[in-house]
Symmetry: C2
C-alpha cells in the first residue's frame, strides 16, 4: 500500500448500473419515459445561441425557476433547481439535517437516502413498511432529526394521499419533512398545495420521469422561502454554477407544453393499468402503482430467473437481490404498448 | 426561531456574484473567454438528437472521457469529468484528503479551496506567498494531509515551471498533490506529462476558460488510474448522473478543433501582453500573468475607486476587498482589443 492511499475516502466499491446500449433492446430497468420530450424542446435546442456558452450560466437559474414558479403558482423564492433530484435531495439533506437525533425514512424506499445520510454523517432510522408495503404512520410520531418520504414510494409504487402526508406533518412540526415526488404526476396529487400551511415541508420533483428529460439532469424543490434561502446559501457556499445554460433554456420549454405533458402521462397510466391486468393473468401479484413502473412478484418463478431470461431476449428489468424483503420482486418500467407486449410474450412462454 | 431552524446548516450568508446582464456592458470580471466556442459546437448542437433526452446520460461519460484521453494521449481510465472544475476539485478534496494532518495551499489562491476544506471538515494551513506573490516551495517541505496548488495561480496570474512542480512532488510523495490548471493553456506547460512518474499527482483542468465553454460546466482531472478509480467510486457512491447529454456530446466537439483553439489562445495572449504594456503606461504595476487576466495595482488610485468608476461606465472588473494583502489590486479579464481599448480610455481619463 502506497502511503497516500491511507487517506482515500472509503466507499462501497462501485457496481456499474446496467445501461445497455443495444439497438434492439427493450429498456424497462431505469423508469425512463418511453416518449420524447415536448416538441418545443427540439425547437429550443436548434435555436440555442451557442456563442453565449462562453459566459457562465445565470447562477440563480432565473428563467427556469421562473417557469416553475409560474407553473405551480408559487413565488420564485419558493423554488430551487439542481442537477437532477439527486442533487436537490443531497443538498437538502446537507442543509436541513444537522441534528443529533436520527432522521426517519422507510426500510424500503429510494436507496440513496441512506447514501446521503452516510455521506453527511447524519444518523438515521428506517421504520419497516407493513406487510403490504404501506408506511406505518405511527412510526413517525416521535422525536427525530427529520423525515423523508417518497410519495409514491419506490420501488413499491404505492401512493399515500395528502391526508396521510398532512398527518405526518402534524406530528413533525419541529423538523423538516421532505416529500420526494419523483413519480407523483403518474396519478398522485402533489403536496405542493400544503407548503403555505406547513413551513417545514419541502417537496422535491424531477424532469427525469414525467417530463421525459432524464438526459438533461434537472430536479427541483418547492417550499417555504426560508427553506429555499437556506438551500441556496448552502449550494452557493461551495458550488455557484451547477445548471448549465442548455438545461436552463430547454428546461423552460419542457414545462410550457401542458397538452403534450398530459397526453404523455395518460398514455403511460393507461399502459400501466393494462400491464397490471396482463401480469396478473400470467401469475403475478402487483402493487397498486401510481408511478411509471409496476412492482410485481410471480407466484412460482423467482425474480432472478425471470430477469435473466428476459435479459437473454434483450428485455431489461430491475430486481433488488440484496434486500430480502423484496428480493423476489421485479420493478418493470412502463414502456410503449409494443414493448410491453414483447415483455408479456416472453414471460408467457417462460411461465405457462 | 422556529424549532426546525436549529438544524439548518450554518454557512456564510450568500453574497450574489456580480453577473450584470446589460447589452452594452464590457464584462471583464469573471475570466470568461471573449470568443465563442469552436464552430463544431454550433453544428453539434443543431444536430443533437433531443429524443434521446428521455434516457439517462451515460454515467461513465465515455465519449467525453475518450475525447480527452485521445487529446492528452493518456488512457481512458486516467480521466475523470465533472460539472465544471469546481465539481471535480470538490470531489477530489472529498476523495483524497481524509487525514488528521492539515492540507496545504497558499494564503492567496482560489478561494474555494478553503470552502471545500471547511465543508468536508479537512484541516488546512495556508503558507503565505512571498512579497512578489510567489509560492515559497520550502513551506511545502513538511508532513501534511495533501497539497493543492493552482498553476498559474489565481488571482495573481503567476506561473511556476514544471521544475518547481516536480520539486514539490519530490517533497510530498506520501500524499496527493493536486495541481489546478484552469489557466494553463494561456502560456504555461501542463503537469499532465508528470503523471506517469508521480502516481500521487492529480491535474485538474476546465472547459470554462481556454475552450470558451463556461456556460456548459465541464471540468476534468487526469492522473494515475488508481486515483481516478477512487474519485469515480466516491462520485458514483452518491450521485451517478451528473453530466448531462448535451455536455457530453458538444464537449467532444470543443476538444476536436485544435486550430481554432490555438488561434483563440494566441489572440488572448497577445492582447494580454498589450494590456500589461498599456496599464504600465497608465501607472499600474502588473504581475507577469500567464492567464487570461491581468492582476494590477495603480500607484495612486485605490482599486475600489477604480472599480466603481469603471462600473459607472458599464465596465466590470473584480477586486478582493476582504483580503488586505491584495485589496488594492484589480483582476481584469483579457477581452477583445476593442473592449480593452475602452478600458484604457476610461482609466486614462480618470488617472491622468
Amino acid at each position: 500500500m502506497r502511503a497516500w492511499e491511507k487517506n482515500f475516502r472509503k466507499v462501497e466499491p462501485y457496481v456499474p448500473g446496467e445501461q445497455p446500449k443495444l439497438d434492439t433492446m427493450i429498456k424497462l430497468n431505469t423508469n425512463e419515459n418511453p416518449y420524447p420530450p415536448a416538441p418545443g424542446v427540439l425547437q429550443a435546442m436548434k435555436e440555442f445561441d451557442v456563442d453565449k456558452l462562453r459566459l457562465y450560466p445565470d447562477d440563480k437559474s432565473d428563467i427556469l425557476v421562473g417557469a416553475l414558479a409560474d407553473y405551480y403558482q408559487v413565488d420564485k423564492n419558493q423554488v430551487f433547481v439542481g442537477v437532477g433530484s439527486d442533487d436537490v435531495l443531497g443538498m437538502a439533506f446537507l442543509s436541513f439535517f444537522n441534528s443529533d437525533k436520527p432522521i426517519l425514512f422507510p426500510d424500503i424506499t429510494y436507496s440513496f437516502y441512506q447514501v446521503w445520510a452516510n455521506l453527511y454523517k447524519i444518523p438515521y432510522e428506517t421504520p419497516a413498511l407493513d406487510d403490504s408495503f404501506r408506511i406505518k404512520k405511527e412510526d413517525y410520531y416521535k422525536e427525530s432529526g427529520g423525515v423523508v418520504l417518497a410519495n409514491p414510494n419506490a420501488p413499491t409504487g404505492i401512493y399515500e394521499d395528502l391526508t396521510f402526508i398532512e398527518d405526518i406533518l402534524q406530528h413533525n412540526q419541529d423538523v423538516i419533512v421532505i416529500v420526494d415526488e419523483a413519480y407523483v404526476d403518474f396519478g398522485g396529487k402533489s403536496a405542493i398545495e400544503l407548503i403555505d400551511r406547513y413551513e417545514n415541508l419541502l417537496v422535491v420533483q424531477t424532469f427525469s420521469k414525467a417530463r421525459s428529460m432524464a438526459g438533461m439532469r434537472i430536479g427541483y424543490c418547492i417550499g417555504n422561502k426560508d427553506l429555499i434561502k437556506v438551500i441556496n446559501d448552502v449550494k452557493y457556499s461551495y458550488n455557484s454554477y451547477t445548471m448549465n445554460q442548455t438545461s436552463l433554456y430547454i428546461g423552460v420549454e419542457a414545462v410550457k407544453d401542458e397538452a403534450y405533458f398530459r397526453e404523455n402521462l395518460a398514455k403511460i397510466m393507461e399502459e400501466r393499468e393494462r400491464t397490471i391486468v396482463e401480469l396478473k393473468k400470467l401469475g403475478f401479484t402487483c402493487t397498486d402503482s401510481k408511478t411509471n413502473f409496476v412492482f410485481a412478484k410471480h407466484k412460482t418463478a423467482p425474480a432472478a430467473e425471470l430477469l435473466e431470461m428476459l435479459r437473454e431476449q434483450n428485455i431489461f428489468v430491475r430486481n433488488f437481490a440484496s434486500n430480502p424483503r423484496i428480493s423476489n420482486y421485479l420493478r418493470i418500467t412502463v414502456g410503449t404498448r409494443e414493448e410491453m407486449d414483447s415483455l408479456f410474450t416472453a414471460i408467457r412462454e417462460y411461465v405457462m
